[in-house]
Symmetry: C2
Subunit: 443 residues, 2 copies
C-alpha cells in the first residue's frame, strides 16, 4: 500500500516559531513530515507520494528521494493549493493505480505509532467504493476541539462532517484509507466549486460510504504553538513501555523522559546512552569499593534512569537496532556484575569476613538469572514472560533491573551493603526457582 501525504499548505500560524514550512517544523528531533514517513515505514509502507504546494522546493530539498529513510518518496505538485486541501488530494489522481487502496494523511498531524498501526490493519476491511476515516469519539480527550472537523456517525459509518457541525459524536483525525471512490468524489465536489477534502468526504458520507475506525491512541493536529507543545507531550508519554517495572514506572520514567526530551534534538544516539549508563554503573561500583556507599547508591540509581533513555530515544527517533538491543542487554549484565563486585569488595575489605565472598558469589550468579530465564522462556514458549502473570508470589521481588538497582540505591544510602547483597543473593535465585516451579505447574 502507498501513502499520500498532504503537505501543500502554508501553515501560517506556526511559521513565526520555526521560520520554515510547517511540515518541516522540528518536533523532538524529527520534522513533522519525517515522523509521519518513519511511522508509516514501521507499519510496512515503503512508497510515498508527497503533495506539495506552497513550499515545494523546500520540501524536496529536505526530504530528497527517501533513500535516507529507507523508503521511496515521489512528489506531485498542486499549483492550486490555496483553493483547499481537496485540490491537493485530487492531485493524486495523476498517479493513481486502478483498484489501489492508499493511506491519505495530513503531514502536519502527529499520531502515536500504535494509532497508525491499528488503523492500517483495517485497510483490508473496506470495500472498493468506501473510504475509511480515522475518527476519535473520546471527545473529552481531543485537543482543541474547536479547530477539528466534527463527525456525526451512526453505527460505524459517518453521516455528516463539518467544522461547524453542532450535532456530532466524533472528530476527524485527518487520516484515511482511500480508494478510487474518493478521487471520484473529489472530482464531483471540485466541479461544484467545493475545494475542501471534507466536501468530498461529505458526498461519500451521504451515500453511506464513509466507514469509521475509532482510534484509541493520541493524536494532534499541529496548528499552532500550543498544539505543538501538546504533540510533544503525547509523543513523550507514548515512549513508556506497557511492561515497565514498578520502580521504572513510578520513578525512573519521570526523569528519563525529561532527559530524552532534552536530548531529542541533539545527535546523541541510543548506543551512546547505553554506554554512558554503563560507565556510570562502573563509577558507582568504584564508589562502593572505595567505601562511599551513598555516592555508589545514587550513581547506581542514576545509571538506572539513564538505562531507560536509550530505548526512549530509539523509539522516539526510529533508531531501533538489533545491535542496540543486544548491546544494552549485555552491558546491563556487566553493569550488575561490577556493582555487586564493588559492594562485595567493600564488605570484605572492611571485615575480612569470608561470608562476603560466599554471598558475593551467590549475588553475582543470581543477577543474570532473571534475564536468562525470561529470554529462554520467550524462545521456548514463543511468548514474552510477564512477571505479573508468571511470577506468582515472587512478583513482589523486583522482576527487572530497575527494581534491583533501586534496592542497591537504598542499600547504599542506608549503608547496609551486607544486607543488600544477601537480599539480592537470595532473592534472585529464589525468583529463578519459583519461576521454574510455576512454569512446571502451568505445563
Amino acid at each position: 500500500m502507498r501513502a499520500v501525504l498532504l503537505a501543500a499548505g502554508e501553515g501560517r500560524r506556526l511559521r513565526p516559531y520555526f521560520n520554515r514550512p510547517k511540515p518541516l517544523a522540528r518536533l523532538l528531533g524529527l520534522t513533522l513530515i519525517e515522523r509521519n514517513i518513519l511511522s508509516l515505514r514501521e507499519c510496512g509502507i515503503k512508497d510515498f507520494i508527497i503533495i506539495t504546494g506552497c513550499y515545494s522546493t523546500e520540501l524536496k530539498d529536505y526530504l530528497g528521494n527517501g533513500e535516507k529513510f529507507g523508503v521511496s518518496l515521489n512528489y506531485l505538485h498542486n499549483p492550486d493549493w490555496e483553493k483547499g486541501n481537496g485540490m491537493s488530494a485530487y492531485t493524486f489522481r495523476k498517479d493513481y493505480h486502478k483498484h489501489e487502496k492508499f493511506v491519505l494523511l495530513m503531514s502536519d498531524h502527529v499520531f502515536e505509532l500504535d494509532l497508525l498501526k491499528n488503523f492500517i490493519k483495517e485497510a483490508e476491511n473496506i470495500k472498493q467504493d468506501e473510504l475509511l476515516l480515522a475518527a476519535d469519539s473520546q471527545l473529552e480527550k481531543v485537543y482543541d476541539i474547536d479547530e477539528c472537523t466534527k463527525v456525526k456517525f451512526e453505527g460505524n459509518y459517518a453521516v455528516k462532517l463539518g467544522k461547524r457541525l453542532n450535532d456530532y459524536n466524533a472528530v476527524d483525525c485527518g487520516l484515511f484509507i482511500g480508494t478510487g471512490a474518493l478521487l471520484d468524489a473529489l472530482s464531483r465536489s471540485i466541479e461544484r466549486g467545493a475545494y475542501a477534502l471534507t466536501d468530498a468526504v461529505n458526498l461519500m458520507a451521504e451515500l453511506g460510504k464513509v466507514k469509521l475506525h475509532f482510534v484509541k491512541n493520541n493524536w494532534v493536529d499541529v496548528d499552532d504553538y500550543h498544539s505543538y507543545k501538546h504533540a510533544e507531550k503525547i509523543l513523550l508519554k507514548s515512549l513508556i513501555p506497557a511492561k515497565d517495572g514498578f520502580i521504572s514506572r513510578v520513578f525512573n520514567r519521570r526523569f528519563s523522559i525529561r532527559i530524552t526530551r532534552l536530548l531529542a534534538s541533539t545527535s546523541v544516539t541510543p548506543n551512546q546512552m547505553t554506554l554512558l549508563s554503563f560507565l556510570i554503573t562502573a563509577v558507582a561500583a568504584v564508589s562502593f569499593a572505595m567505601a562511599k556507599p551513598l555516592l555508589g547508591g545514587l550513581l547506581a540509581q542514576l545509571a538506572s534512569v539513564l538505562d531507560g533513555v536509550d530505548g526512549e530515544i530509539s523509539r522516539l527517533k526510529f533508531l531501533k537496532s538489533s545491535f542496540g538491543e543486544v548491546f544494552d542487554s549485555i552491558l546491563d549484565r556487566y553493569g550488575d556484575y561490577l556493582i555487586v563486585a564493588g559492594m562485595v569488595y567493600s564488605w570484605y575489605h572492611a571485615t575480612g569476613d569470608s561470608m562476603a565472598l560466599l554471598v558475593g558469589a551467590a549475588a553475582l550468579t543470581g543477577m543474570p538469572m532473571s534475564m536468562v530465564f525470561k529470554e529462554k522462556f520467550r524462545n521456548a514458549l514463543g511468548k514474552p514472560f510477564i512477571p505479573e502473570i508468571h511470577d506468582g508470589i515472587m512478583r513482589y521481588f523486583p522482576a527487572n533491573r530497575d527494581g534491583r538497582l533501586f534496592i542497591i540505591m537504598l542499600g547504599g544510602i542506608l549503608n547496609l551493603l551486607p544486607a543488600t547483597l544477601i537480599l539480592l543473593a537470595i532473592g534472585t535465585h529464589l525468583q529463578t526457582f519459583i519461576r521454574l516451579y510455576n512454569l512446571r505447574k502451568a505445563a
Copy 2:
C-alpha cells in the same frame, strides 16, 4: 489435512520377534504406528483414519480414540485385507470428503521426521487429479532395495512402478498425498481384479498424474528383523542436531546415543535425565572442592554426555516440552556455577591466593554470558545465533557448553585448575565482547 494409515496386513515375518501385530511392534520405546501418528502430529495433522484388517481389535485396544496422543483416531475395517493393500486404501472411500487431500502411508514404515515435514509441505502443490508420491532416488542409500517398489520417472512424474521393474531410477517410499483421483484409480484397478495400491498408482502414472517428491532424509520399510534394526539406526542418528558443538559431535554423541537407545524402552523422562546430569555436575563440583580433580573432571564430562540424553529422548519419543527446555537451560547454568565454584574453592584452599577469587568471579560471571548473548540475539534478530557464522575468530573457543565442560575435564585430568579457570574467565568474556563487535560490524 487428514492422514490415512494402512495397518491391515499380517506382518508375518516380524511376528516371531514381537508376538504382536507389526504396527504394534515397539521400536525405541514407541510402536511403529504410534511413531507415525506422533510424527504426523508434529507436522500439524490431528485427524487420522486407521485402516484395519487382520488385527483390528488389537489395534483399537492399544491406540484408542487418540486422546492420549492429542489427536483424533478413527477406524475403518477392511474385511478383504488379504486381497491386497489397494483394497485397504480403497476402504477410505467410505469416509472421503469431496475435494479433500489426504496423507496416505504405510503404518509400518519408519520415516525421519524431517522427511515427513518436507513431504507434507508439498501437498498444496498438487492438483485435484494428481497423486503425490514420496520417492527416493538415492538408490545406493536405499535399504533392502529388492523388497522395494521401483519407480521409473521422467522429470517430476512417475512413468511406471513395480516390484519387478528392471529399468528404474527411484523407489517408492510408501507415502502419498492422495486426492479423489486416487480413489477413482483404485476403483478402476479393483474392478479389473488388481488389488495392490501400486496397480492403481500405475493407472494414474500412465496418465502422467503421479507427481514425485524426492526425499532427502532416511526411511525404511520395516519388514523383518534386519530392517527393524536398520530403522533403529536411522532414528538414533536423526537425533543429533545439525547445530551441535564440536565436542558433542565427535565425542559426546557417540555415548549419549547409546544411552538413549538403552533408556528408550524405559519410562525415564527427559526431565529426569536433566536432573541426573545436574546432580552429577554437583558431585563433580564437590570432587573438585575436595581436591580430587581427576574425578571431578571425568564426572563433568559424564554430565556433559548425559546433558545430551534429555534432548535425544524428548525428540525420539515426542516428549518435547517448553518446561523441559527452560529447565535444562537453567540447570545447565547452575551446573556451570557449581563446577567453577568447586574449582575455585580447591585453588583458594590450597594456596590462599586471592587471585583465585578474582579469576573465580570472572569465570562465574563469564560462564552464563554465552547463553545470554545467544538467547538475546535470537530474540532481537529473530534468527538463531550460529557460532560458525557469527563468531568470527572466536569460533575456535567453545561456543557451547560441551566445549567448556571438555576444557574442564582436561583441566581436571591434568590437574591444572588455575590455568583452566583463567582460560574460562578470559575466554568467555572475550567471546562475548567479540560477538558484540561482530554484531556491530554486521549491522
